[in-house]
Amino acid sequence: MFFLRIKEFGALVGMAVFFVTFSFLSNRFATVDNLMNTLTMAAELGIIAIGVCMLMISGEFDLSVGAVFAVAPMVFAIMVNHKISEYLALLVCLILAAAIGLINGVVTLKTGIPSFITTLGMMMFWRGILLAVTGGFPIILSRRMRMLDYFGGRVTGGLRYSAIWFIIITLLFWIVLERTRYGNWTFATGGNLGAAKALGIPSERVKIINFMICSTLAGFAGLTTFARFKIVDPTLGQELELEAIASAVMGGTLLTGGYGSVVGALIGAAMISMVRNGLVLAGAPAYWYRAFIGIILIVAAVINARIRKKVAG
């Protein structure tokens, strides 16, 4: 059946199920305002998940995205508080994020250790730096600036700019994956490394670039959060790395590489956000949501595996 071949099929069905369920449970759920709100809440996680998804398709991992998510706004806040231009600060913190990705990639590929280890180390390192530099206290932005409104400010109602960035970034990377040579190379690198190398695809470079994309997007996502709260806590974004991987997997991306979709990752992130929001509206204690996500993740992975098996015969 052709629709089973759609990589995001499982995730779409899952989202539809939750949508209907929560609509029944609460009449405040299926309102435009609440849905805008849900999308906004999904954006920060979702932007990270896009990068994580790209990297996973090329066959690698990044556990340091949660730390980068906090490091980028911290660097931004410190620079701006020291009267440095916000545009320069923005540039510096995005370059830093990209550089962290570069180091992740180069260390992983040149030494041959698994990216799981490299990025786990990187995560611990930057968390440590965050705590050391801030002394454990949050950093508060000392002046107002218009630029930040374009990252996390309100557009209308519950909709914020971060949601719009989220959509744009998803579309951009969807095109990259599905319509460009680089996308083909990413699939080939993760799907059959031997073949990719034999055909002269620069697999190492592809992976390193994906590490950089992943890290840069994490930094960017951190900035959108910061633009909303104007405060950066050294524990900001803890466990986001795992939720990002969960989003990608729910959206059909394989942990083993070679298969996946950034649109799926978007749906995965939206699903997590929807469950969080829906449970609150349905009157369940907010803490339950994690338990729920855990179950959804496993069920989603099983269903996706079944679908794939059915398609491949």
Binding site: T180, W185, N192, Y259, G313
Partner: protein, 498 residues
């Protein structure tokens, strides 16, 4: 025949793996518009020869000429650039991309928009190539959904797209059906007509005689000759593939044979093994021969519980057993020595004692290991099998192939209540000295009343050790022969079915 350009020439190629010389001064060449077939038994050196030509393996000595130019160090990349493509069964296909994307992978067509691929044009071009080849495939199909034959076709199409001059195919039809095989052979003839050179390796001599222009025969790493198709017939080819020196045959002592202890009836598994029936008596060595891929290893995996049969029954001493897993098979009295020591035999990084005692046996009962007992039994086994070790802490990978194999076999001797021992290629990668010792161990087992199944590709081994020989072909046990005055060539004929 008109004078044609020589695409490839190999001169005096020598290749050594460990203690084995797998190619001994082999010459080979290929002309434009020619199908040159390589034939020989399992392990004759065919695959090694083409690995050298595709750059995957470099020879110890010898010269390689491609399009008349000497190439000193050939890498896979360089081989492709020079126009030599090897078609593997499905190694070079990315399952998540479409047919067209696979063909253009690494060589994509760009559109006017920067970075964007022109998918439409790629699909059109692919359509053209496929049409020219007479291949009926949807260019937008995901490659993962294709059959093996389909994937092979894509690789051939890709080779043509990359302007390959030489196409190498190693056993391309071993997993194809009749129709698919016919289609492939027709395709190869068309390619030849377009001027390509094709090197074709197959066990199926019928195919070879359908398409070959020339045939080169290898035996144990030596070239037995290159012949034009008209100069040679099937019988001569078979004779040249075998016919070894008597010195290679082991002289075993006769052992009295007792009652039937092991029996399988109509054992089968869809697509792998079809309704096999045979029996093995106590003290008997039952040899199983056949080509690679004929279902020999699958058959013994069914007996050993590594694969679950769809149908059929297995009996030990008249009692029906149905091994659900290897551990279950062991409990019921079946021991198995795999052909792949590295993957299914050794625990790398562990010492000899640990490797010897790792089988579940009487030692493994209780909460803690009985280290002294392990040590005692291990040194007993080491002495009994004369395993050459310098000290007992030596890791298994430090031993020679022969001694590794003895450790693996020794492991099973600790399991004394077994009825049936299965040896899959017992002397693969083992030097001559250790080989005779392994034969002695097998004979001792037979003398103590055990039954033995021995799968072997080594013709002298099969003929000198077996009491009876079963022939596997295409998943069937086609013949069971008493081993008196059997000749190599008789067996080979049965293996390939001519």
């Amino acid at each position: 025949m008109a004078v044609r350009d020589r695409l490839v020439e190999l001169k005096n190629i020598v290749k050594v793996y460990g203690e084995h010389t797998v190619l001994k001064n082999v010459d080979f060449d290929l002309h434009e518009g020619e199908i040159h077939c390589l034939v020989g038994e399992n392990g004759a050196g065919k695959s090694t020869l083409i690995k050298i030509l595709s750059g995957a393996v470099s020879p110890e000595s010898g010269e390689i000429f491609i399009m008349g130019k000497r190439v000193k160090s050939l890498t896979p990349r360089l081989a492709i650039e020079l126009g030599i493509t090897t078609v593997y069964q499905d190694a070079e296909i990315v399952d998540s991309l479409t047919v067209a994307e696979n063909i253009f992978l690494g060589n994509e067509l760009k559109s006017k928009i920067p970075f964007k691929i022109d998918k439409q044009k790629q699909a059109q071009e692919t359509q053209k190539i496929l049409k020219r080849l007479g291949i009926d495939l949807d260019v937008n199909e995901i490659a993962g959904n294709l059959s093996t034959a389909g994937k092979q076709m894509i690789q051939i199409a890709k080779a043509l797209h990359r302007k390959a001059k030489v196409i190498i195919m190693d056993e391309p039809t071993s997993s194809l059906g009749l129709e698919e095989t016919r289609a492939l052979l027709t395709l190869l003839k068309n390619l030849k007509a377009e001027g390509l050179g094709i090197i074709y390796i197959s066990h199926y001599l019928n195919e070879v005689f359908q398409i070959a222009d020339r045939i080169t025969i290898l035996k144990d790493g030596e070239k037995m000759g290159t012949y034009l198709l008209e100069q040679i017939d099937l019988n001569t080819v078979v004779k040249k593939m075998v016919g070894r020196d008597t010195a290679l045959f082991f002289q075993r002592r006769p052992i009295p044979i007792g009652d039937v202890r092991f029996r399988v009836h109509n054992l089968g598994k869809e697509g792998l093994v079809e309704e096999v029936t045979f029996e093995v008596r106590s003290g008997e060595i039952f040899g199983i021969g056949g080509l690679v891929g004929s279902g020999r290893t699958e058959l013994v995996s069914l007996i050993y519980g590594a694969l679950r049969p769809d149908k059929g029954e297995i009996f030990i001493d008249g009692k029906r057993i149905a091994p659900k897993s290897p551990i279950d098979a062991m409990k019921k009295g079946i021991c198995f020595v795999s052909e792949d020591r590295k993957k299914y035999g050794m625990f790398l990084g562990r010492n000899i004692v640990e490797n010897l005692t790792s089988v579940k046996n009487k030692l493994s009962k209780g909460l803690l290991l009985k280290l002294n007992e392990e040590l005692r039994l291990s040194s007993q086994t080491v002495n009994r099998l004369s395993i050459a070790v310098s000290d007992r802490d030596q890791l298994i990978e430090e031993l020679s192939g022969g001694n590794q194999q003895k450790v693996i076999i020794g492991r099973w001797l600790l399991n004394s209540n077994a009825t049936l021992y299965i040896f899959d290629e017992p002397t693969k990668g083992v030097d001559i000295g250790a080989r005779e010792q392994i034969y002695q161990i097998m004979l001792e087992l037979a003398e103590s009343g055990k039954s033995i199944i021995m799968v072997s590709s080594d013709m002298p081994e099969l003929l000198s050790m077996s009491d009876r020989i079963g022939v596997m072909r295409n998943g069937r046990l086609t013949h069971v022969l008493e081993n008196n005055n059997l000749k190599e060539e008789d067996l080979v004929r049965l293996f390939i079915g001519v």
